[in-house]
Symmetry: C2
Subunit: 193 residues, 2 copies
């Protein structure tokens, strides 16, 4: 009997605090409707176990829960069953710690994504991350920032940073939406190409 | 003197007509604000020459032009220069033919993206498309549908269809947002990984 191929364990989180704004103040950003749907659909497509929307404010998480209810059990579930399936694995959490705890995986590698390298944190290539996930069979929690990105202090509390996605020459433009960044990272890590 | 590496020529288009709705009627879809911004940013990042928003109705194209004006020359240009740069290469067109003509490239390979293969149209893998673009130096116009996808008849008028992006086993969920699909396709075709 053939051995079942190992399926890497991955959860992702969209962090809304602690986040930098344009002037490098630490802020909490608002949850965006498109961030819920686009990222849920990409996560579902690439076999992500859970997608956590992380925000410290109850009001923001209640907004997310209302959207989820509409599409999972309300009118939307009948109108668009694909969307219901995409949203099945979306969860809310008040903090990154709460999300990790809820997931319940052990020996988790926590990974930040960022447009630039950060001093004092190990940077891992996409290939390197795939190796740790497939060869070492280590579960991975991949975190994406909103606004102008996670604070450096927060990133330093994680295991590694993933190498930035480079822009085309000559100007190396790096200003993807978080929805695009998630999609590309999931394809590079989990894609079957 | 070292030879300058060849940079493949790519334009993309977001088609709003002729599009299928849920019941397979042929319709024109509305332009979505996030489709303008997210796709423009990904296109700029991966060196796409022009990003065409294609719609037969003047009112819809005027809406797009107002958004572009705001960020390219209005208040938005000062507030967010990165967004201005991303939107520099966004153009509107009333039809696919008008977009191709505006781009002005010769011997263009026209490529549809679709979640499923279509009978009667050649399907090309991502690797195959890269080869034609880099080795044969053939300019490529890559088209993305909105709504429930382009009509089969329209796709049959193009050179090839790009292989669908597969969902993870066991359920092969394929319901990406067009913003995610564009991002992933550009990374696979133009990415420097």
């Amino acid at each position: 009997m053939a051995e079942t191929p190992y399926v890497p364990r991955l959860a992702i989180g969209l962090l809304h605090y602690p986040i930098m704004d344009k002037e490098k103040n630490i802020v909490a950003t608002n949850v965006t409707n498109f961030d819920i749907h686009d990222i849920a659909r990409a996560a579902r497509m690439y076999g992500v176990e859970n997608y956590y929307i992380i925000h410290p404010m109850k009001e923001q998480l209640m907004f997310v829960e209302r959207v989820l209810d509409h599409w999972r059990t309300g009118q939307g579930a009948k109108f668009n069953p694909s969307r219901r399936r995409a949203l099945e694995r979306v969860k809310t959490a008040e903090s990154f710690e709460a999300a990790i705890k809820d997931w319940g995986a052990e020996n988790v590698m926590t990974v930040a994504t960022h447009a630039r390298p950060i001093e004092g944190v190990e940077t891992l290539s996409f290939r390197g991350l795939r190796e740790r996930m497939y060869d070492q069979k280590r579960p991975c929690f991949l975190l994406f920032g909103t606004g102008y990105g996670m604070t450096e202090e927060f990133m330093k509390s994680l295991t590694v940073i993933l190498e930035p996605i480079k822009g085309a020459p000559p100007d190396d433009f790096r200003h993807l939406s978080v929805r695009s960044a998630v999609s590309i990272c999931l394809d590079r890590i989990m894609g079957s190409w």
